[in-house]
């Protein structure tokens, strides 16, 4: 006979009968997200080394300092980064990730939470603000348009000796292109977009517009199936794009011109 164990045992953090490594996923999530938050905050505070040739770091796009010729005392990255940060923070996937990993609410499925903690979910401030995800999507889509423009600009290299910009491609061009493609995959698989573009309809066959929206909903749903993967790949890509431009600008890495 085994020891006496009641099914009504009080919960405590991590209490479970699961024998698999359920803690690996939240641990990796904490490590991954914390590394990105620390790096991106540091990079945003720097305020320099965000441009190298035709390459512009996505953390500093749009380059409002260059546009308006402002001489700012602070890093203007913060005037941009709140948009993608808000978009990711309110994203349904990231909510799952940090509720599980940072708040341990719950740390895993059928795993105990810290005992005696009251729970309000997303019914009260601050988490009721998660409902504004669609607003962050609208703003993030604007930022995304600038990043596509930056990727386009990364194909045109200015040479001080020859004068006008010439078409070409460097490793940095590919880095910025991969960055914007993955960000597009992530943004256009958004659950809010999936709803707004067609999911809100009850009838997909009631008229020509509804039929078109059904097709668009199908496309967004296809991207949404891999939203988790897009979220992580795009997070890595955007961090790496900044790192690449930064290290090239500092002269630590050398950009290779493909043609």
């Amino acid at each position: 006979m085994a020891g006496i164990l009641s099914v009504t045992d009080p919960d405590r953090l991590g209490k479970t009968d699961r024998v698999d490594a359920w803690w690996v996923e939240p641990l990796l999530t904490v490590l991954g997200l914390t590394a990105f938050i620390v790096y991106s905050t540091w990079a945003a505070f720097q305020g320099d080394h965000y441009r190298f040739g035709p390459y512009l770091s996505p953390f500093y796009s749009p380059n409002i300092k260059e546009w308006f010729g402002w001489n700012l005392d602070f890093s203007f990255a913060f005037s941009i980064l709140w948009v993608p940060a808000g978009f990711r923070a309110t994203c349904y996937y990231y909510r799952k990730a940090y509720y599980r990993s940072y708040f341990m609410d719950p740390p895993g499925c059928a795993v105990g939470e810290p005992h005696g903690r009251s729970y309000l979910g997303e019914t009260e401030f601050p988490f009721i603000l998660q409902n504004l995800h669609r607003c962050f999507f609208y703003l993030a889509a604007i930022v995304l348009a600038f990043l596509w423009y930056d990727a386009y600009e990364a194909f045109f290299f200015k040479d001080a000796a020859t004068g006008p910009a010439t078409f070409g491609m460097g490793v940095g061009t590919i880095v910025l292109l991969v960055n914007v493609v993955t960000l597009t995959g992530f943004s256009f698989g958004c659950n809010s977009l999936r709803h707004l573009i067609g999911g809100k309809l009850d009838c997909f066959t009631c008229g020509a517009t509804a039929r078109i929206r059904h097709k668009l909903w199908g496309g967004v749903s296809l991207l949404n199936l891999r939203h988790t993967e897009w979220a992580w790949v795009s997070l890595f890509a955007v961090g790496f794009a900044d790192l690449y431009v930064r290290l090239c600008s500092m002269g630590i890495w050398h950009d290779i011109r493909i043609f």
């Binding site: 085994a2 006496i4 024998v19 059928a110 995800h133 669609r134 607003c135 709803h195 009850d202 997909f204």
Partner: protein, 254 residues
Amino acid sequence: MAEVRKFKVYRGDKNGGQLTEYNVQVEPGMVVLDGIHQIQRTQAADLACRWNCKAAKCGSCSAEVNGKPRLLCKTRLDDFDPAEIITVRPVKTFPLIRDLVCDVSWNFEVNKKIPPLTPKKTADWVMHQEDMDRVQEFRKCIECFLCQNVCHVLRNHDLKDRFYGPRFMVRIACLEMHPMDGLDRTKLLKDEAGLGFCNITKCCTEVCPEEIHITDNAIIPLKERVADRHYDPLRAFWRKIMGADHPCTCADGG
């Protein structure tokens, strides 16, 4: 040749209980429910276990196997390491009656609170497959209540008086997305059903034996419908200037 596997099965009632060890002769292809039946047949005729179809379609044999909410009839023994002890407990979220049998009647009471399909007066009863695809996914639900069991709002926080649980979010989504239905249940979702208590950690989706995408296809779309009505500042502004500020609760959907 039959091998022997060690089972630990919860024996007890609402006053308490214990895990009891049994040795079970297993054959290739056996599921955990077969092991429980063998224990009943050879060692403990009074072991209580609810089951019916043994085909993962009736939703009766929900339990927790090695800590994971599962259907006993869909959990193959050869999926476990040969040396692993098979621990079987009743579902945690609902009151225990005896051994592996729980009282899940709370779910049936919740079900009664949901307004049923209310056709629009102008409903066209010609159905198109594109319109029914979403709804048919929800209709796969076998009411095993594993999603209700694993949902931490019900399991760890015991907020049964404030949150209906994922199973009933699926039912409401099934009604809300039905092309013939004319009722607006967003106020019910926001208030009585407690949709905001769900923090979309997706455990319900992970345990669903019918592989319904509960979170992505039911709960999140419902959250977005509630956001349309209550949390979208642009839509609120639009409604204000257009004067269309009243949610539809009428049967014709107009």
